[in-house]
């Protein structure tokens, strides 16, 4: 049993956690929810020893207080395993090396028994139904595959009776994989471990958790059995106010002008070519199960993955697939919000301002010179409009919470007014309030004429937000749903159909 008592954390002089109490009981799945920036990841990083809590905090393992900050060794000894929001994988290493880090069977001479490690890793992956080559370089895996790898690693290292802490493990997963992960977690808890689980998908939190803790502005505002919450009451606890309609009214009155067209688009990763047309103001969903090809499409279209055949038309310009590059695509009026926020979406060490204006620098130029004051003012405006907190343009991106980073990246692209914007998992790790706001921003931009290609495995969102959706299976488009046929259930069944 792990008990957290009076955990506070102040970054510089800003309180991020204030007197949080939380007890993790064996056999129980504990859901932790809260708005973006409410302190969930920080709490978890304190538990793993990455951050030191402020004075006065206490963390007990099996009744004994641990020395703070917790050393990796103590965390390990207390049976705690972590799946962090930023995963923590060594990209230059192989799957096997990453699987085994932190816990080795040593024979004499302090030597790792690699044969045994390999056997065990293969067994684990098999056990959890995750197909990964043990010698593949982690850098070559998709984000989903990486997430699975980390989850399996943590589960495999948990011997039973310990504690598993997962920070948004399901965020990149499609609902099928997420469901399987959840049922695995349930089983892990049932055999006597405790599970702390963070997610912004409130439905899944309620369905799997025994108890739920809600954080708001670093304080525990609600803590109770899962059964005593409904999604709406959770949301109200998180936001402090009741939530109105989640999804905006999507205008069905699209323009007639085709602003984005794919013609016979294909590449190594697609089994069959894709053709698709988007009219101005349209929001078209693209979905599929993990690694079915839909998650490559954004990068193919943006010229970031090799494409062999086909053409892409944006606005009035047609570009041969072979000529595509991010520059060419952008010049034609296309934008891309990539799924990997940490490394592809923004530069963590650079300021919010620098990130947000990185694709619109032309706007702030006069006579070949950047007007820095004008730029700062514009960014301050955008940060207010997108409710990016804290609204300090000079902060490096790294010091914003995940959800706020995501909003900043959306601001970066939407402020460019593209003909068409590809969004890849744009609400990944975004809290309900922010999500609703992002949907609203998307809908507004659509009304103003921007076309969206909404690539995501969140079927619920696609069903509500999009006017049409194409479904990928086995690396090819298998189906298009539109109008009344575009429902969550249809999307799911199309994705799952063999």
């Amino acid at each position: 049993m792990i008990e957290l008592r009076n955990i506070s954390k102040t970054f510089a002089s800003r309180p991020v956690l204030q007197g949080v109490d939380l007890t993790l009981v064996p056999g129980e799945v504990h859901g932790l929810v809260g708005e973006n920036g409410s302190g969930k990841s920080t709490l978890i990083k304190i538990l793993s020893g990455f951050h030191a809590p402020d004075d006065g905090a206490q963390i007990l393992a099996a009744g004994r207080p641990l020395e703070l900050p917790i050393s990796p060794h103590d965390a390990n000894a207390a049976g705690m395993r972590f799946v962090h929001q930023d995963l923590g994988l060594f990209e230059g290493g192989s799957v096997l090396e990453n699987m085994t880090v932190g816990r080795y069977d040593l024979n004499r001479f302090w030597r790792i028994d690699w044969r045994e490690e390999r056997r065990r890793a293969a067994r684990l992956l098999g056990e959890f139904g995750v197909a990964l080559d043990l010698d593949a370089r982690v850098g070559s895996l998709s984000y989903v595959e990486r997430t699975l790898l980390v989850v399996v690693r943590a589960l495999g290292q948990e011997a039973g009776g310990g504690t598993i802490v997962l920070d948004e493990p399901t965020a990149p997963l499609d609902s099928e994989s997420a469901g399987r992960l959840l049922s695995t977690l349930r089983r892990v808890a049932d055999r006597g471990s405790s599970v702390l689980f963070v997610s912004h998908r409130l439905g899944e939190v309620l369905s799997i958790s025994d108890r739920v803790t809600v954080l708001r502005d670093g304080r525990v505002v609600a803590q109770d059995l899962a059964g005593s919450f409904t999604e709406d009451s959770l949301i109200e606890a998180m936001l402090g106010v009741p939530m109105t309609e989640m999804y905006p009214e999507v205008s069905t009155a699209q323009g007639t002008e085709v602003v984005l067209a794919l013609n016979g688009f294909a590449g190594d990763v697609l089994r069959r070519s894709v053709s698709l047309e988007l009219r101005s103001g349209e929001i078209v969903g693209v979905t599929g199960l993990a690694a079915m090809g839909h998650d490559d499409l954004p990068y193919l279209m943006f010229g970031d993955e090799e494409t062999r055949v086909g053409a892409l038309a944006v606005g009035d310009r047609t570009i041969g697939a072979a000529d595509l590059s991010p520059q060419v695509a952008m010049r034609a009026g296309l934008g891309l919000v990539p799924a990997n926020r940490l490394s592809d979406g923004g530069a963590q060490a650079m300021t919010a301002t620098e990130n947000i204006t990185s694709v619109t620098l032309g706007k702030y130029m006069r006579k070949g010179t950047l007007r820095l004051r004008r730029e700062r003012r514009a960014v301050a405006g955008l940060m207010a409009q997108f409710e990016i907190r804290p609204p300090v343009p000079e902060l490096p991106l790294a010091s914003f919470s995940g959800g706020n980073q995501q909003k900043a990246i959306l601001a970066k692209w939407l402020s460019r007014n593209p003909y068409a914007l590809i969004l890849h998992e744009p609400t990944q790790g975004v809290d309900v309030g922010a999500k609703r706001q992002i949907f609203r921003l998307i809908a507004d931009a659509a009304r103003a004429g921007t076309a969206f290609l909404y690539v995501s495995s969140e079927h619920e969102d696609i069903a509500h937000l999009c006017t049409r959706a194409v479904i990928f299976r086995d690396r090819a488009v298998v189906r298009e749903l539109a109008g009344p046929a575009l429902t969550y259930e249809n999307l799911m069944s199309e994705c799952l159909r063999a």
Binding site: D304, S343, D344, A347, Q348, M350, L361, P391, P396, S399
Partner: protein
């Protein structure tokens, strides 16, 4: 708004570490400012302290206009070399061939102008072209082939040092007086070469701070796919910064030819470590955490001031090396400690 990339501290200290990233926020603007000042101007402060100490010890000789004029003039070539490599460092390419390129340019000028009687302008052009070619080869190897910059430019630097000696193994004197005048003419007590360094510094500062290119450099240096996916022509900018580094190094070699009025093929390599020391120490000041122009300029002059002070005290020899190395370490340590103090 800041110029610059996060330099190596990324690996040194993981992102998301309290001290590194999340220092500032709404509630602590005062703190931000105090910390910022300690952080940004720590090196300037150290410089002032150094001047004060030597000034107290040797007021008549040290605290004179001409002493500072002399320091400014004599380090100008090193300043050019140090700031010339900043764009390459910013995109994450550590160019160790700068000193070799400088030596090569120096020898080319002497060899063509004196031994082959070429007009000085032509000799200078060829030397600069050689710098561009070296930078181009570096770019090819590092950007196109994706080879680690340290090993590639370490090899290139050695190769160039060999070639410089191969071209002419003897110091050549008698370089055209027009080049000498262009470098050494005295303007307000300072040699022209100082103004070239200043001009280059201004241009680079402008580029870093006020142009998209400056931003791009640091986006690229940050790593990951951001730069590429933001439509920044990553390869071209990286290649360009390496070519620029070659050109600037060759330019410093040409200036050195003018300053010395002679071309010695063994001169180059001794400039490598001082130039890097300037660039890396500079990255702890003015825009801490990023390679930046004024930090570099100050770092070079800070180190030179110390050496000059010691010399005026009659201390030369190994003590200079001890001071040089020691003050390099101390300067970075103190500026880090200062910024910590204000933080807590």
């Amino acid at each position: 708004m800041r110029e610059g990339t996060k330099i190596a501290s990324t690996t040194e200290r993981p992102p998301g570490n309290p001290e590194e990233s999340g220092r500032r926020n709404r509630g602590s603007w005062q703190r931000l400012k105090a910390e910022d000042i300690a952080n940004r101007y720590g090196l300037v402060g150290a410089w002032i302290v150094l001047i004060a100490v030597f000034g107290a010890l040797e007021p008549d000789k040290f605290l004179t206009l001409s002493n500072f004029q002399d320091i400014f003039s004599s380090q100008a070539v090193l300043v050019v070399l140090s700031i010339g490599v900043l764009p390459a460092l910013a995109v994450g390419a550590i160019d160790l061939s700068i000193a070799g390129t400088m030596g090569l340019a120096l020898v080319i000028v002497g060899w063509l102008n004196v031994l082959h009687g070429w007009p000085i302008a032509l000799a200078v052009l060829v030397a600069l072209a050689a710098g561009v070619i070296v930078g181009g080869i570096n770019a090819l190897v590092i950007v196109r082939l994706g080879i680690d910059s340290i090993v590639a430019t370490l090899g290139m630097g050695t190769l160039l040092a060999g070639i410089a000696i191969g071209i002419n193994n003897l110091a050549i004197s008698g370089i055209s007086t027009s080049l000498i005048d262009a470098a050494r003419t005295n303007v307000g007590g300072l040699q022209l070469v100082f103004f070239y360094a200043l001009a280059l510094a201004l241009v680079l500062w402008y580029v870093f701070r006020y142009t998209p290119l400056g931003r791009y450099l640091f986006f690229i240096g940050g790593g990951g796919g951001v730069a590429r996916l933001s439509g920044i022509p990553v390869d071209r900018v990286r290649a360009g910064s390496l070519v620029f580094s070659g050109l600037a190094s060759a330019f410093s070699g040409v200036l050195l030819a003018g300053v010395l009025g002679a071309a010695d093929p063994t001169v180059g390599p001794s400039y490598l470590l001082p130039a890097l020391a300037g660039a890396f120490l500079g990255a702890t000041a003015i825009v801490p955490g990023r390679f930046n122009v004024w930090g570099t300029v100050i770092a070079v002059y800070f180190l030179a001031t110390g050496i000059t002070g010691l010399e005026l005290l009659g201390l030369s020899g190994y003590i200079e090396q001890v001071f040089y190395g020691g003050s390099l370490v101390l300067a970075v340590v103190l500026s880090r400690l200062a910024s910590r103090r204000t933080q807590s």
